[in-house]
């Protein structure tokens, strides 16, 4: 089936296309050079065309997301959709149910979204939730930063074993990237404490956050993974934490990127940096350190960051940073869920209200915006809200409108935000406005590239997946800075969204809600003989400490409806012993 999107203004930073009027041709789910005359025509005159959005960091599936859904019925009530038009019923404002998550992403023109924290032990549950998430391609990042095996091998200085274990765990959990959350801190929390910088050792294992970041960064390149190490720094949300942030960024800087898949050129992906840019010593003398962190990023070429923009909503915070969630619960007094995942990681969940009139949330909003506006090169930025931590992903269109309109921001700063946004941050003095090209960069191009998926994602060149969003925005007739509400609305409800060449959204409404995305995962092995040694430890510790049997732990490939294994295609699937499911097999 051939299609052609005619006359749209195309924004495609990976191919240096900036608002050019051109046609996009589609055949068999891919973008092609040309199509026949009888191809189905999609008229995009007076509209803009971008690749499908790629969200590199969101929390949409798995244990703690589900805890968020279960223990916040009052959040479910704030966004309820009835069954209809082939769509399932759903609910949830900050933590929508699985089906609704897929619909909501698609309506905004997003076609790829990555679950950024998967406890390895709970991988099966995470994949099960992916089963019920329509449209979006996805992957999940297993947590490595507080894992006993990782800490043991790093303590022994054995990078080979660390790499072999990491490769095995990615394969066993069908995971995609090395995720590090509060390295050493979540393990310290299991002992009733936390670490406060990258040089505090974790109890018993006696390795520091810096050791873990450096070790795993090296392992990442030994394995040649498509994505950079995905780091949530220590000391999240605490005044004075920016020094730890910059020191953490510095740890892996001299390592050379060697991806075996994709063309990533960065070594480090630092997430929700907004929460890591605070100066001062407490919330009274607090001041934004975003300009200092932005300055470091401007001068460095080894990292990409995502912002974690606060959206000023009532939301649900959830992170594998257990001690941080306890601090938050102590601060706001709201209900708190805490979880320890056997030898691997932990997590916490707390509701949070980012009230515009409250001093700290107003400043946090300012810090996020400062980062967006002060980091000069948008190829180093991904737009996120760390959904749902700083705000739900359904607010991305609002963040885009804030970036594109100084008027929108000043309106908010002058009329709605607490004055701390002006006195504690420099946001009111910044008048930069993002162009549509830069919006496409921070929502598609940068993320696809740093994920190592820019071969098929985040652009509209020939050979890319036909994941395309058409928005009812006309830069030739509209003043986008002045008409910010129209921009927000257009980005919330795409005129057309195509997934693998199929029209799934039309005028903001789902028209094909029963299409399911791919699961990307890493199928690699590092030195089989070392892996054999590692598995001796793993099996021993499973018998001793885990509540599941070793044989029940790995997620079989036939558990994944549209499996896309990357790297070493010759790795034996020793666990399931089954043929890999065919690409394109439907649910």
């Amino acid at each position: 089936m051939q299609k052609i999107i005619k006359n749209g203004m195309v924004y495609d930073p990976l191919n240096n296309i900036d608002g050019e009027k051109m046609d996009i041709c589609i055949e068999d789910g891919k973008i092609v050079e040309s199509v026949a005359n009888d191809a189905e025509v999609i008229d995009a005159s007076g509209k803009i065309v971008m690749a499908g959005g790629v969200d590199p960091h969101t929390h949409i599936a798995g244990a703690k997301v589900n805890v968020g859904r279960m223990y916040r019925p009052e959040d479910s009530k704030r966004d309820v959709m009835a069954r209809g038009g082939g769509m399932r019923a759903g609910s949830g404002f900050s933590v929508p149910s699985t089906f609704m998550t897929g619909y909501r992403y698609a309506q905004m023109g997003y076609t790829t979204a990555m679950e950024a924290a998967m406890p390895p032990l709970l991988a099966r549950h995470t994949h099960e939730e992916f089963h019920d998430m329509p449209i979006i391609d996805h992957a999940a990042y297993p947590l490595f930063g507080n894992n006993w095996f990782v800490m043991k091998y790093l303590k022994e200085g054995d990078l080979d074993k660390t790499a072999a274990y990491a490769a095995w765990l990615l394969r066993a959990t069908k995971g995609y990237a090395i995720k590090i959350v509060n390295p050493a801190g979540t393990e310290a929390w299991a002992w009733g404490g936390n670490v406060h910088g990258i040089n505090d050792p974790v109890p018993y294992f006696d390795v520091t956050g810096a050791d873990i970041i450096k070790g795993l960064a090296e392992v990442n390149e030994m394995l040649g993974l498509p994505h950079a190490i995905h780091l949530h720094c220590n000391d999240l949300g605490h005044p004075g934490n920016y020094e730890t942030t910059i020191a953490s960024f510095d740890v892996p800087k001299n390592i050379v990127p060697k991806p075996k898949y994709g063309d990533r050129d960065k070594i480090l992906y630092a997430t929700h940096v907004q929460f890591h840019c605070y100066g001062g010593t407490n919330w009274r003398d607090f001041v934004s350190a975003a300009p200092k962190v932005a300055d470091y990023i401007n001068k460095s070429d080894h990292l990409v960051v995502d912002i974690g923009q606060v959206t000023l909503d009532e939301t649900t915070t959830m992170t594998a940073d257990g001690p941080m969630e306890y601090d938050l619960h102590s601060l706001n007094g709201l209900k708190w869920a805490n979880c320890d995942v056997e030898m691997e990681t932990g997590s916490g969940v707390v509701p949070f209200i980012y009230a515009a009139k409250a001093p700290v949330p107003a400043s946090q909003w300012g810090v996020g915006m400062e980062l967006f506006l002060e980091i000069k090169d948008p190829t180093k930025i991904c737009l996120t809200t760390d959904s749902p931590n700083a705000g739900p992903f359904t607010r991305y269109p609002r963040v885009m409108a804030w970036l594109m309109s100084n008027k929108y921001r000043m309106n908010l700063i002058e009329n709605e935000l607490h004055k701390w946004a002006q006195t504690k941050t420099t946001v009111a003095t910044l008048d930069r406005e993002y162009s549509l090209y830069e919006i496409a960069q921070v929502t598609r191009a940068t993320s696809a590239k740093v994920l190592g998926l820019s071969d098929t994602k985040g652009h509209l060149g020939v050979g890319a997946d036909a994941d395309i969003a058409v928005y009812d925005i006309n830069p030739e007739t509209q003043d986008l800075s002045a008409e910010y509400m129209a921009v927000e609305k257009a980005f919330s409800n795409a005129a057309y969204v195509l997934k693998d060449g199929e029209i799934v959204v039309l005028d903001g409404t789902m028209v094909k809600p029963d299409l399911y995305g791919r699961t990307y995962w890493i199928n690699t092995q590092f030195k089989p003989e070392v892996e054999q040694e590692v598995l001796v430890d793993v099996e021993k510790w499973f018998k001793q400490y885990y509540s599941v049997n070793f044989e029940n732990y790995p997620v079989q490939e036939d558990y994944i409806p549209r499996s896309v294994p990357l790297l070493g295609d010759s790795v034996p699937e020793e666990i399931s012993g089954k043929e890999p499911a065919a690409e394109g097999a439907s649910k």
Partner: protein, 270 residues
């Protein structure tokens, strides 16, 4: 004042969900339009006239409308949900959520009401002449922001966990209540004229609870502040002697007050 009379035909086995029985929904509609107002019967949408005979004189102004439900609606939920003005009189029993999220106006239930009466109530007057169920004047499941305004009066008994997470307004129970009245309470006034089984004000941080009857078991997290004679709360005077407690110290920032009548409560004084 315009009067609209709803005569229930028969209460179905599967409950009706009738948040549209409210002066706000009736305002500006003629009788035929009111008959066609949609309510839910389980998961099916039906019209008001499927389950009620409707007659009376409509009005454009909600505050001018008095709805009289002339009979038993013991399996109809959410009557008067979110109403802002006007009046509803229920001349029988009703089910869950009567007056939930009510903002203004007046509801009188002449019979008994189910659980969650006046849940998240913000204003207006809700009066239940008979008994009420659990969670009267409480918050929505999971929420920490319950009833914040208005006056809710139960002439009979009420169930467990009434005034849960209450923030403001006044809740009066003339009869007895079961366990945990005022649990997590943060503001407002809860007056219990009858007896309480146990755990009054568990984890409360603010607000005032007055118990005129007997509290069987009292929580240990309350600090005894002494005996007061004839207290005044919210401009209302209560005769007699009261033990005064502050708590619940089991939670952070405890600043709730409980007055318990000295009569019958000697066992809870220190």
């Amino acid at each position: 004042m315009s009067e609209i009379i709803l005569k229930p035909k028969e209460q179905p086995q599967v409950p009706l969900e009738a948040e549209n029985i409210s002066p706000d929904a009736f305002a500006g509609k003629n009788i035929d339009e009111i008959k066609n107002i949609e309510i839910w019967h389980g998961n099916k949408q039906v019209t008001l006239s499927d389950f009620f005979d409707v007659e009376g004189e409509p009005s454009d102004d909600a505050s001018d409308i008095k709805i009289i439900i002339d009979g038993d609606v013991s399996n109809t939920k959410r009557i008067g949900h979110g109403m802002t003005a006007g009046e509803i009189i229920i001349k029988g029993d009703t089910s869950m959520y009567v007056g939930s999220e009510m903002n203004g106006g007046k509801i009188t239930v002449e019979g008994n009401a189910g659980p969650w009466a006046g849940r998240d109530m913000k204003g207006g007057e809700l009066t239940i002449m008979g008994d009420a169920g659990d969670y009267v004047g409480s918050s929505y499941r999971g929420d920490w922001r319950g009833m914040s305004g208005g006056v809710l009066t139960v002439y009979g008994n009420a169930g467990n966990e009434i005034a849960e997470y209450m923030l403001g307004g006044k809740l009066i129970v003339k009869g007895d209540v079961r366990i945990m009245p005022g649990v997590h309470m943060n503001g407002g006034t809860l007056i219990i004229e009858g007896n309480v089984i146990a755990r009054t004000g568990g984890e409360m941080k603010g607000g005032t609870i007055i118990v005129k009857g007997v509290i069987d078991e009292f929580l240990p997290g309350f600090e005894f502040l002494g005996v007061e004679k004839g207290i005044e709360v919210d401009g209302e005077t209560f005769e007699g002697n009261f033990f005064k407690f502050k708590g619940d110290n089991a939670t952070k920032g405890a600043g709730g007050i409980i007055y318990a009548a000295t009569k019958g409560n000697a066992h809870i004084a220190p």
